[in-house]
Amino acid sequence: MAAESPISDRKVVVHLRATGDAPILKQTKFKIAGNDNFCKVIEFLRRQLRRDTLFVYVNSAFSPNPDELVIDLYNIFALWSLYTCDKLVVNYASSMAWG
């Protein structure tokens, strides 16, 4: 899908991983439009897990601003990491994991 669609529609593969005692999702890989804000990922997780208190991180490292565009995060953090290759790894926890 990503190869044929115009760049403005490019979707980013997001890999959602639970941390600590946070519930694990049945499906962990999703595609989201690059133009969407990171807050869409956060809201999606909140709806799926039915929780308001969630700490969401990228690459087990830090929490981006909800304003960040997914495509920007992908370009910075997915492409440059030797370990995650072509997807944006998003970790979520019910309590602060990397404070």
């Binding site: 760049i7 403005s8 133009n35 490292a61 495509i71 370009n75 910075i76 953090f77």
Partner: protein, 373 residues
């Protein structure tokens, strides 16, 4: 020119915006209404940090209830995680002194703005931005994560209090700068290596391009505007293009000017003489979207170019874009920069304490409504 000037950094740390804060009329319960309060907002600080100064002034007139503080400028709710100086540079095309803001203690617009729950929220946002910057510079943020709690707290407190020396002392241990023109992070002394495991991806000095954390805010104003005071105020954050994209520099480039760095960030928009060299731009256009393999920094920029192109221009995309847009002004820390300044000087001296360089770009367009991405 020395690349890192303590004097310049001191100017930045001492920079402040004179603010005149009015309580929103819906929250005034006394007659006469309280006068606005005059406060100096540190450029590198954040608006919520001023609440302890502001609240006592208004607390006797507030209606009963719990507070969630937020600010607005001409109706636009202000994003509290953007440094005060950046908000001022971006939203006040013509600097307004004092800057008139409205404070609210109730009625937080949750759909537009994430709530700020006091100093801890701001600290959390700051530390996360610092980690993000460390990740961009080093390929990992271990240096920040390995900081002791005491150090993290002291770093934060030195920012809150405007204590530059304290801040420089602790932040130097992170070894995130200053950057030399060879893209190597210079340390003040030849002390022990940073505590990063050997064999971990390390982007400095290994032949990979070095990356500088940048937050770019692009605002469109009418091209025919003679007086910045007449610029249409921003009423919605969608009118501003926020781009979080690092500047990638290859070691061979050496003496990189600020102009060249800006070209890598905004290649389609940034030019000096309109329509002089069509061929150059057509060549650029040819590389767009050609090869989407990663590890190729040109293509990462290329993919962004194509995105900018997708938006409203049909027919001859590049040429039309050249006609329609022009850089009106670029502001960093309130300064309109000379484009020939060495980029590394700009980064080392004008960056914010979380190691991001915040750049406000004003673009003159014939259509006010368009945004650039």
């Amino acid at each position: 020119m020395e690349l890192c000037s303590k004097e310049a950094v001191k100017y930045v740390w001492e920079g402040a915006i004179p603010l005149q804060i009015h309580l929103h009329e819906s929250e005034v319960t006394t007659l006469p209404p309280p006068p606005p309060i005059l406060v100096l907002g540190s450029r590198i600080g954040y608006l919520p940090l001023l609440v302890p100064l502001i609240k006592p002034h208004f607390s006797s007139t507030l209606p009963p209830g719990t507070d969630t503080v937020w600010f607005d400028y001409k109706g636009l709710p202000l994003k509290w995680y953007i440094p005060t100086g950046v908000l001022f540079d971006l939203l006040c095309a013509e600097p307004e002194r004092p800057w008139n803001l409205t404070v609210h203690f109730r009625g937080h617009p949750g759909d537009v703005l994430t709530p700020c729950e006091g100093e801890d929220s701001v600290k959390w946002s700051y530390i996360n931005s610092l980690k993000e910057a460390a990740y961009i510079i080093n390929g990992n943020c271990k240096n920040v994560m390995n900081m002791s709690q005491a150090d993290q707290l002291e770093l934060w407190q030195s920012l809150v209090k405007g204590n530059m020396d304290g801040y420089l002392r602790i932040s130097s241990r992170l070894k995130l700068g200053p950057l030399g023109e060879d893209c190597i992070v210079r340390s003040a002394s030849s002390s022990a290596q940073p505590r990063q495991a050997i064999g971990e991806p390390d982007f400095t000095g290994s032949g990979r391009p070095c990356r500088i954390p940048v937050r770019l805010y692009v605002r469109n104003i009418s091209e025919d505007l003679d007086d910045l005071e007449d610029a249409v105020p921003i009423d919605n954050w969608d009118r501003i293009s926020y781009i979080n994209r690092p500047v990638e520099i290859h070691k061979e480039e050496g003496h990189l000017s600020f102009k060249c760095a800006m070209k890598t960030l905004l290649p389609k928009i940034f030019f000096e003489e309109p329509l002089v060299d069509d061929h150059e731009f057509l060549r650029e256009g040819e590389t767009v979207g050609a090869d989407s393999s990663y590890g190729d920094s040109e293509t990462i920029g290329g993919s962004w170019n194509a995105q900018a192109e997708e938006i409203p221009f049909a027919g001859q995309p590049q040429v039309q874009l050249l006609k329609k847009s022009k850089i009106k002004m670029i502001r960093i820390q309130g300064i309109e920069l000379d484009m020939d300044i060495p980029f590394f000087w700009v980064v080392n001296n004008l960056k914010n304490p979380e190691y991001f360089l915040h750049i406000c770009v004003f673009i003159g367009t014939s259509t006010d409504q368009s945004t650039f991405r």
